[in-house]
């Protein structure tokens, strides 16, 4: 099964769409926004350039025309305000879907995200909640200037209160985003910008949800488990294909949600294969790969034939365009890691 087929397979498995359209991830995101805005008038979209420009990746294209400037709000250039105002909006009955233009620009909003959005329900023992979604393109591969390639998921996983969701294909993008908008808690929605337009898949035209908190085996195998999310899932598929040519059978788990984590799907696969390789774009040290390796060690130590491998970015600043290729995990690096687990 090639990477581009996973989504439609998912569609067959999880929904029963009356009709579908072949969409890119960017289009699926827009589709989800449009469906939910039509269904629920509390849903509004706000962020930098989300209005007439339709977002720098066009993920909000057409929304302002459809829903007007009161529901598709171009904000001043102020990330802390985008999130801080969304906290106020969400706590008083709205369902804001905020966009941070690139994940590299989420830092100024960290105080509002982790200091307030993530805490309001607990702080008030359930009286106020913050049902908001924060969408942001993340990750490398597009050769942009500095701060445009980051994967900062670890910041939001090391402090509790925010769900973190990362689709790897158009079907999941729509289904997960709708689930996120309907969720009663803040959800960080990381969009793999590198594959925003890389391929199309059949996506139901009607609204549907993919449950938050459930990972998925997107490629079956029995000698090793690749665990990944977002844009790296495709690279894992490629590595699996490469290895298959050498008769090495690997399973690929697409986490889809990083918090809450679907630990059981990971452990079931690793207990079966006995080998695990985690693949992510963020730096290795203290990345989410470490957490997954720790969990596997805690719960499946005796099943492990080899140490869990981490194929990740390095512990450096994400390089500018000319050196991006040195940094990002490749199918070769993944395949080599699988081989290391087999040769251990």
């Amino acid at each position: 099964m090639s990477a581009t087929e996973t989504g439609s397979a998912a569609a067959r498995a999880e929904g029963s769409p009356e009709s579908s359209e072949r969409l890119t991830i960017a289009q699926a995101v827009r589709d989800a926004l449009r469906d939910e805005m039509a269904r629920d008038e509390r849903v509004i979209v706000l962020g930098e350039d989300v209005g007439i420009d339709g977002g720098v990746f066009r993920a909000t294209e057409g929304l302002i025309e459809a829903f007007g400037p009161d529901r598709v709000i171009d904000t001043p250039l102020a990330e802390s305000a985008i999130i801080g105002m969304s906290v106020g909006l969400a706590a008083t009955g709205m369902r804001p879907v905020a966009e941070i233009q690139f994940m590299g620009f989420v830092y100024p909003a960290v105080n509002q995200l982790l200091g307030h959005a993530a805490r309001m329900r607990n702080r008030t023992r359930g009286r106020l909640s913050v049902p908001m979604v924060v969408r942001m393109p993340y990750g490398g591969g597009i050769h942009p200037p500095e701060h445009h390639s980051e994967s900062y998921e670890s910041l939001f996983l090391a402090t509790p209160g925010i769900k973190v969701v990362v689709p790897s294909n158009p079907y999941d993008a729509k289904g997960l985003l709708i689930a996120a908008i309907r969720d009663d808690d803040p959800v960080l929605f990381m969009e793999p910008k590198r594959i925003y337009r890389a391929f199309r898949e059949a996506v139901p035209t009607t609204p549907f949800t993919v449950p938050i908190g459930s990972a998925k085996v997107v490629h079956e195998g029995d000698e090793a488990t690749l665990i990944s999310w977002g844009a790296m899932v495709r690279v894992c598929h490629d590595a699996a294909d490469m290895l298959a040519r050498d008769n090495i059978s690997v399973e690929v788990v697409d986490l889809r949600t990083l918090n809450p984590l679907d630990r059981e799907t990971i452990l079931t696969s690793v207990r079966k294969t006995g080998r695990a390789v985690v693949v992510h774009e963020a730096p290795r040290s203290n990345g989410f790969g470490g957490e997954i390796a720790a969990l596997i060690g805690e719960h499946a130590l005796l099943h492990l034939h080899a140490p869990v491998q981490r194929v990740t970015g390095f512990d450096v600043i994400f390089p500018l365009a000319k050196n991006e290729h040195l940094y990002l995990p490749t199918r070769n690096r993944i395949a080599a890691a699988v081989r290391r687990t087999l040769e251990y």
């Binding site: 329900r121 359930g126 209160g161």
Partner: protein, 357 residues
């Protein structure tokens, strides 16, 4: 026209009731005597709540407490100008106005005694919980003001913060966005002239805080914050403007932090007693009492009755606080998300097991 004026900035200060209790007859609001007496009573409740908290703290029955002594007129004046349905977004030195907006006093105490249930206000109380990260709450006030506008609710979001909080980036972003979006928001700075040990002139080089409104194209005004009438008038104007679609207002209420920053602080380390004493003379409660007495609205017997009422109320508050049932240890997990995820379910079981052993 090579050097042209492109902007002309004026900022005004409003004062109505002077320290001796004399009012400016032209500007004085036409308030029913009952309302004036109510304002006085409300300030007396605040003072009692504050004094009692400090006592409880010394007895180890209260956590860190930030006193509000001297700042009561701001909180009473704004509260009396607000309408039902308006939201209050406090910082952390707003016990007085939280009380007047419907938060039960024993919950205010519970919060500062280290119990999250203190922020679980009763249904219908439109008050945000205490915001500890200085300045962050300004953003929420802009957001709530936008929320009200988008939904066509004729209510206003009233946000409080200190002079020190105006230095944070969030203050700026909130004011600027509120200006752009015409949020139904009123922003009240309790300028008590100190941010812990940092005096106002080390906080900003601007002569007033009200003039910061010029940066955002919104109205700004300075009021004597120890003058409940001036506060009431300025707040009423601002609320009416916001409610009718006229956009946000920044109010600087000039006052003084008579007490320590909190019970963990010792202000004598960094500021002269003489400064404190001078401001104690400008006490907002005393001032209103002088006015009421000279206007024939108040006398000894009313004062005695009030003192009794206040005593009883504060004693009941302490009883209510101390009669709160113990918390369930699971509470630290229960409200993290709408539904308990697997990792928390597991961790909750660990805690339950440990509490049992």
């Amino acid at each position: 026209m090579p050097r042209t004026q492109v902007y002309h900035a004026v900022t005004e200060r409003l004062e109505i009731l002077d320290p001796e209790g004399k009012v400016d007859r032209e500007l004085a609001p036409d308030l029913p005597p009952e309302t004036v007496r109510r304002m006085y009573r409300d300030m007396a409740l605040m003072r009692a709540m504050d004094d009692k908290a400090l006592k409880l703290q010394r007895q180890g029955r209260m956590g860190t407490w930030p006193p509000i002594r001297g700042q009561e007129a701001i909180q009473a004046g704004v509260a009396h100008a607000m309408a039902e349905g308006d939201w209050l977004i406090p910082a952390f030195r707003e016990h007085g106005i939280m009380l007047l907006r419907g938060v039960p006093a024993h919950l205010i105490y519970a919060y500062w005694a280290g119990d999250e249930r203190g922020s679980a206000f009763p249904d219908g109380v439109r008050v945000f919980p205490v915001a500890v990260p200085v300045g962050s709450q300004w953003q929420h006030g802009a957001g709530v003001g936008l929320s009200l506008k988008l939904r066509g609710e004729p209510a206003v979001a009233v946000t409080f913060g200190g002079d020190g909080s105006t230095s944070e980036g969030d203050f700026h972003e909130a004011m600027n966005c509120a200006g752009v979006f015409g949020c139904q928001s009123v922003f009240v700075i309790q300028n008590n002239q100190w941010a812990i040990s940092v005096p106002l002139h080390r906080q900003t080089a601007s002569e007033t805080l009200a003039q910061k409104a010029h940066a955002y194209g919104i109205p700004g005004i300075q009021v004597d914050g120890n003058d409940v009438f001036a506060v009431w008038v300025a707040a009423s104007e601002a609320l009416a403007r916001a409610r009718s679609g006229g956009g946000p207002t920044l109010i600087e209420a000039l006052t003084y932090r008579i007490g320590d920053h909190t019970t963990a602080d010792d202000a004598s380390r960094y500021r002269p007693e003489t400064e404190v004493a001078a401001w104690a003379d400008r006490d907002p409660i005393l001032r209103l009492r002088r006015y009421m007495e000279s206007a024939g609205l108040w006398d000894e017997s009313r004062e005695e009755a009030l003192t009794g009422e206040v005593h009883e109320w504060i004693d009941r508050t302490v009883v209510n606080l101390e009669e709160m049932p113990p918390q369930d240890p699971r509470d630290i997990f229960t409200h993290m998300y709408a539904e308990l995820p697997p990792n928390l379910r597991e961790q909750m079981a660990e805690v339950v097991a440990e509490v049992r052993t």
